[in-house]
Symmetry: C2
Subunit: 465 residues, 2 copies
């Protein structure tokens, strides 16, 4: 009847198959407005299904307004339901494929996931599931769990001497979200953001997506050049990485820190301090955050992506008090809150000092890998290079003053099985850092580091030798 065929093997119930078939006929104008439908009895007999099944399908079509039924009158198709078809020409745009055979990837920002204490973490997640209350499964505080905020405050004190109250800490879905929403809070709609140049281009994109105007300020070996900070109308924030400038690796000197704070105060500008990897410092001690110098002027952005693992999606902000209420409002409307399970497990990881132990262990390992990188550079390049910036983090910028690295170089590397980015890639204004490469080593075993540098030397020999 009406060309409808039902499939008794299908997972889809019979009434729904009938409903969909009828709806398709109506929407495609094969059953036209006003047309009378077969009675439920006829339909049931013809399709060898129960009358109840037909009634269920009819009822839904009536409820949705596809069919019209009046007491005593036959069921009819409603008017004006037909939708002319569109040609489904839109095809999915292809995702960027990284299926090339890469044997050594010197990408930055990746911790070594194999060395994370996975078994312990599973135990902590199970423990966390046991300690959360039923009310924690409902809508919660956009600021995050108090247990985690207290543990972060304690860690900041014991590792950096920073005194912060848990009430001033705001858990985020990773540092990225912290920066994304801070940009919305401070710099959306054409207001200006000052940024280091070169800088993290992911952040640059985030800010540009928010319609911030970017004012680039150059960086040297001591971090952002505060002499170049020029008063400009409508600047609302300065984004800096003072503990370990990304990508050049400098530590902002104390005098520049003071100048930066002065400038921010004089111009009523907030400072966004992105502290993305200062836990991994190999010479000297971990630095005190800029935040401590003026807690009502500096927004501190912390992350656990490098110290725990990226998929955790937990970071935090320490916020000046005047911004806290607006932040909570913004977070509530952006995604309400972070899920509590990861937060509670991380709180336990910190509480039992397993976090401290893991960071301590990884700092040693990353240091060894850094040394292995330098040894390999000496082995293959002699003294034809120098490492930029200070001894910290999971990557280093290497200057090869004799070469200018270009797109052709990067493609040749890829074809030979290594991934390397250039510092030039991270520059807002191009043309000043073409001799520098950015080498991420944290996630690589020592033998792979050497292997990668060997291939790098072959590529350079081939192109520039």
């Amino acid at each position: 009847m009406l060309g409808i065929v039902l499939n008794r093997e299908s997972e889809l119930q019979l009434w729904r198959q009938l409903y969909l078939a009828l709806r398709d006929l109506i929407v495609s104008n094969q059953l036209k407005g006003g047309e009378i439908l077969p009675s439920t009895r006829e339909f049931a007999k013809d399709l060898e299904i129960s009358r109840n099944t037909v009634c269920t399908a009819y009822e839904l079509l009536i409820a949705e307004g596809y069919l019209i039924s009046h007491q005593g009158a036959p069921t009819r198709v409603a008017d004006h339901i037909w939708i002319e078809p569109t040609i489904q020409k839109e095809c999915r745009e292809e995702k960027i494929s990284t299926a090339l055979s890469i044997s050594v990837s010197f990408r930055t920002g990746g911790p070594d996931l194999n060395l994370f204490p996975h078994y312990l973490w599973k135990q902590l997640v199970e423990k966390a599931l046991g300690t959360l209350k039923i009310s924690d499964y409902g809508y919660g505080d956009p600021q995050g769990l108090i247990s985690l905020r207290e543990e972060i405050a304690a860690w900041l004190f014991r590792s950096r001497g920073l005194k912060v109250e848990a009430e001033d800490i705001f858990i985020t879905a990773g540092a990225t979200q912290g920066l994304y929403l801070t940009a919305e809070l401070l710099c959306a709609n054409g207001r200006k953001m000052m940024m280091e140049n070169p800088c993290h281009t992911g952040m640059l994109r985030t800010f540009i997506n928010k319609n911030c105007s970017i004012v680039a300020v150059d960086v040297d070996e001591d971090g952002i050049r505060t002499d170049d900070l020029i008063k400009s109308e409508n600047v609302n924030a300065i984004y800096v990485t003072p503990s370990h400038q990304f990508p050049l690796g400098g530590i902002l000197s104390a005098s520049r820190r003071a100048e930066l704070i002065h400038f921010a105060r004089q111009n009523d500008v907030y400072i966004i301090e992105d502290d993305y990897d200062s836990e991994f410092r190999y010479r000297g001690k971990t630095l005190a955050p800029l935040y401590g110098m003026d807690p009502q002027r500096v927004i501190y952005v912390g992350t656990f992506s490098k110290t725990v693992f990226p998929a955790l999606r937990v970071g935090y902000l320490i916020l000046p008090r005047l911004l806290q209420k607006r932040w909570c409002d913004l977070r509530t409307h952006a995604d309400v809150q972070s899920p509590p399970f990861e937060q509670e497990a991380l709180a336990l990881f910190l509480h039992f000092r397993k976090f401290d132990r893991h960071v301590h262990k990884m700092r040693k390992i990353y240091h060894q890998r850094r040394e292995a990188l330098f040894s390999a550079l000496v082995k293959y390049f002699g003294d034809d290079w120098h490492a930029y910036g200070d001894d910290a983090g999971l990557h280093v910028a290497i200057d090869f003053p004799r070469y200018h690295f270009d797109q052709k170089f990067k493609e040749r590397c890829k074809n030979k099985g290594i991934l390397v980015t250039t510092v030039e890639n991270y520059c807002i204004e191009k043309g000043h850092h073409q001799s520098k490469l950015l080498i991420g080593y944290g996630h690589l075993m020592e033998e792979n580091i050497e292997k990668g540098i060997k291939i790098l030397s072959e590529v350079i020999e081939e192109l520039y030798g």
Copy 2:
């Protein structure tokens, strides 16, 4: 020496205490630029600590640029480090307190968390931790886990006959994030969004925060009044709740669905279909989403906050193909991805049909509670009211044609221990729905529902009787 006192009981290491004390003296100008510091030997002797401790503190201060040290010369304070103090006048703004003693809260959108199978969920989370690979702990796909997307596609087919490919499904941090980022994608920077009036004010705020211009379109018992859709320049999207209009509860009729699609096509506008609770439908069958009528024109927004629990923070979008690449880019810069643990546990919950069973169970219970609400209304108000909209969801709009509910009414309710909102509260244009209350009952036991309605009748008697 220099008035510095160290505390040997402190959790903070001695070198860090010394470092902080010296830094504070420098930053506060008590140690002035150029001043010569005591030698490490003198300092160690005076404070009765090892010379090594002093050296560590000095080294860090030198690295940060607070001190200057040249071979053979004494260590001095660097110039221009002093920061004049700011008065810390900013105090934390107070959070809104809901500490009032509320015995019955008729708030909307809350599932009953007590009836969720918590033990089973814990088992599934543990299982999920076992099935995830180490690479899942690194940065992942902004689109979400393929296992979950496949399970959602299967559920949409078996529950609604909707054929969707997993490639077109995008996991979000709750429906809120889906809507927030969709607004950014389509309507930021002054472009227009059409919205139902009344509507979900949380969504309204989200769109306004994004700087969307709002065009309100009135709603009646059949959903959005498509006759009122008027061509307007620069409209980019229409936000609708066709399965169960929020807050009035109407189901968008088939003819209006067709008109809405026609309008969207003619004006090249996207339709955002927010399907926030159609799993809970008590009469007739769950409706087919509008999405099925034009997958390249409709953005479908689904959530698990009502069917699983809100703190899960998992929702999803089904996106037209032309938007998919831009969406991934946006999500990557907003918060990268959702954490994989909840996603994998939810995939298992769906896979084993425990989700279907839970939804089935809760539909029965919520139906009983709805009936209990209607019985209580009859008991205390006779036939002086009528329920607006259709039989679905976790809340209902009740019209009391004789009364006009105002702020005084809401406050009196609060003082008597019940929380009730008015439909007027959700109106973009005020003045048309003052006789309607919005009663959320999903999270309330039957006896509490009756208790709350009794108090409501007393308040109404007192104010309007």
